[in-house]
Every structure is written in structure tokens, then in C-alpha cells.
Amino acid sequence: MTDLRRSPLHDRHVALGAKMADFGGWSMPIEYPGGGVVAEHTAVRERVGLFDVSHLGKARVSGPGAAAFVNACLTNDLRRIGPGQAQYTMCCDESGGVVDDLIQYLRADDDVFLVPNAANTAEVVRRLAAAAPEGVLVEDRHEGYGVLAVQGPRSDEVLRRLGLPTDHDYMSFVETTWDGLPVIVCRTGYTGERGYEIIPAWDVTASVWDALLEAVRAEGGLPAGLGARDTLRTEMGYPLHGNDLSLDITPVMAGAAWAVGWDKDTFWGKDALVAQRVAKDGRLMRGLVVTGRGIPRSHCAVRDASGALVGEVTSGTFSPSRKQGIALALLDRSVTLGDEVVVDVRGRDVAATVTRPPFVEAGVRSS
């Protein structure tokens, strides 16, 4: 535990009494006293929560043709968006497996900002740098910026208290200043609620956090840890790399074909993914809603009514919104929506219904 990396807000979290844990090699807050996962989750669904997600990676690809270069590597089609817009995409291996899922922010044709997962940033940067043509620069800026997520239906009120812009579209971003400091305000997040991710320079992240936390509390919200972020994203069916996406789980299997630019001339893993898509090969990601009692956890086996093994849970938790166990699971294609299955939870049979996520309605586009 001695060599865990620390967020620029580490001292703030310790002062608040947060429970800290290793998350992708970073010591990050899991939950805060006076909150707890369920209360923090509920605050985000009903009011607003403030997350420190500075462990997320940051990388910049710049130089002539930077956007075209990124577009020839990552899965989604950058031509679908313009400058000032962001897009969910994936970095695949030539095998089709997922090295990482990330958000790409198109600033200009020669400037793309990437936010990969903490544990995968170095590898994404390594692969891009190795492939970059002359004149295109790939920089790992992991500790160049902090990332603060304001999420929940009262997010706009929080940002307005700081004089930050709020009227931009979902998945777009605005570069502005707060108290003289440059910040990027992105209408993004991973909770399923309306909200923003604010990206200040690493060294001034704490002063932005302090102002946001005061505004969040004034709006009846709470600081929220990564425990609540996990229950929130699971309720939305959003994948977590390492659980629901991996080198063994392709975008086709994960139900993320929408994040692949199939019409593009090339991207890493295209041949393998096209072949898998045509062959209708591999298990598919489905949702499970527990009908009995119990909570599926990752790696629990899933069996059909006859007892035959049909798949495996990749993420499972208790849904604070639905007050029942939910899970994402990779299941054989023979299993269809509405089927009744049994999850082996540490030797106990827990009945569940196969569904299509999300498990709760998304509020990301609501106003």
C-alpha cells in the first residue's frame, strides 16, 4: 500500500475521514462519514453529489492530423462529432479485446484530449505513441489535471453558484476560467444522471473542489466516493474495464457495438471485430435482476433452468434505487431476454431474470 498514487485532494479526503482504498493503483475515497454508499448514491439520484475522479488518466494527442490518427486507432468514429464535443470510445487490441474504454474530447483537428481509466493510461499512451506518425505527439498528462464530477439533477445549480457554464449539450465541453484559473467543463459523467466533469490543472484542483463542495452542500448534496460511483454505473449498465470489458471481452460481446465506427477504413481490432460480428460469435452482456434474495458478485456462475452453465457475472451489486440485487453477466447467445436463470452465489442458488440494462432510467439528457 506504500506506493499507491495520490489524488491532488488526498489531504481533503483524509480530513473528511473518508475510507480510502486502492483503485487502479491510486488511493481513492470509497465513501465518506455521514454518507455511506447508499446515502451518497441516493444524493446523486435525487439531488447532487461531488466525486473526485482525478485518478482517471489524461493524455493529449496533438500535431497535424492528430484527430485523424486517433480515429484510425480507437473504435468510435470521431467524424461523428465536431470540436467542443466528446465521445465514448475504446482502445482495442488487434484480437478485438478491449485494452481500455475512454472518453475522447475533440478540441481541434490537431488536438484530442483523452481520459482513459487509471490503471490503463500508461498502456493506451504506449500503444498510441508507438503508432503515432511523424509530427503527432502523444503525451501522458496523468498528473497534469484533476477531474471533479458533479452529478445529479441539481448539478446546474451547483455550477451556477460558481459562475460556471451549464447550458451546453450532453457530451460537449466548454473551456473557461474559474477565479482566473483555466477549467474545462464537460457535460459528461458515469452515473446516468445529468452532470458535469470539471477538469482544472492538477495543482489548483483543491481550490475548485473546496468551492464545489460548498455549493454541493448548499444544494443538499454530498461528497460521494467511488463506492457510490460503482453502484450508480452498474444501475446504468455502464461497463467497468477489468470487470465488464477486458482483453477477453470485445465490444461486440459487451453490447458496445454502438461505440464502434464500423464504416471506418481502419481501427485497431477491426478485422477481428467484424469477423465476430458477422459470425454472431461469443457470449453477450446482459442484465440480471434478482427475483429472490441475494446479491450476485463478479465471477458467480450463471445456470439455466436445467442447470446447464450459460455464463458468468462480470459485475454485481445491490441496487440502492431498486433495493434488489442486479448484475451484468456474459451469457451464451442461447439465453434470451426474459429467461429465468440461477446465479450461484457462493454455493447458494439465487433466481434472476435476464434483462436489457439500464436497470434504472437514465437522466443524463434531462433538463
Binding site: K19, G227, R293, I295, R297, R348
Partner: protein, 128 residues
């Protein structure tokens, strides 16, 4: 929950369970330390009334949003009651671990086994 309490009249185990003697049975729950470490308890699986358990047996589970912990029988005996309220309101384990959040009751095979467990001072001493 920052000021965790360990009532003096109870017995404790190193596995963070407490026992309160009530006539010829003992009531069992988990300590303030255990519920704090678990976080929000969302599901409790208990033994069945009439089950015979041996000291150290796994006899149930406590799950929070993020983890699961086994319950261990603190002494040998027969299960005489379980807390029916935990099915619908498992959060009682967090809000009132020594009261409404109790888990089950046992009739010990030998009441001397209960007396041999840790007292509050010995339990808190091994926490630090």
C-alpha cells in the same frame, strides 16, 4: 459512527460478534466496529431456527454494497430465534448494532463457553 461503542455487559469474539446472555439463551450480533468496516448492510443471511452449530462454523453472511462477510457461530449450540426484521430492514445492523440490529439467538451447549469469550476491554484492546 465515529464514536464506536462496545457495551460493558456483553461478550465478544475476535471475529467481531457480540453475545448477550438472556436466561438460557444468548443473543448474537456484530459489533459497531464490524458494521462500520462493512459499510451499508444491504442483506443478511441467517441460520434457520433449530439448526445445530459448532463454535467457529459459518452460519450466515452479512453483505454490504461492496463486500460480504461470513458470520461465525461464537459457541456451540442450537439456534432458537432469528431477527425477522433484518429481511426488510438490514440497515438496522448499521443504525443499532447492539439493539434492533441483532441477528440470531442460540441455546449454548455449555454456558461456560460464553463466559470464556472476550469482555469489552479485551475486545477493544485487540482492535487497536
Amino acid at each position: 459512527m465515529s464514536d464506536l461503542e462496545y457495551p460493558a455487559g456483553l461478550r465478544y469474539t475476535a471475529e467481531h460478534e457480540w453475545l448477550r446472555t438472556e436466561g438460557d439463551t444468548v443473543r448474537v450480533g456484530i459489533t459497531a466496529f464490524a458494521q462500520e468496516a462493512l459499510g451499508d448492510v444491504v442483506y443478511v443471511s441467517l441460520p434457520a431456527v433449530g439448526d445445530s452449530v459448532a463454535a467457529g462454523d459459518t452460519c450466515g453472511e452479512v453483505e454490504s454494497t461492496k463486500s460480504v462477510s461470513d458470520l461465525y457461530a461464537p459457541v456451540s449450540g442450537e439456534v432458537t430465534a432469528v431477527n425477522p426484521a433484518l429481511d426488510a430492514t438490514p440497515e438496522l445492523v448499521n443504525t443499532d448494532p447492539y439493539g434492533e440490529g441483532w441477528m440470531y439467538e442460540l441455546r449454548p451447549a455449555d454456558s461456560a463457553d460464553v463466559d470464556a469469550l472476550l469482555d469489552a476491554d479485551a475486545y477493544t484492546a485487540q482492535l487497536s
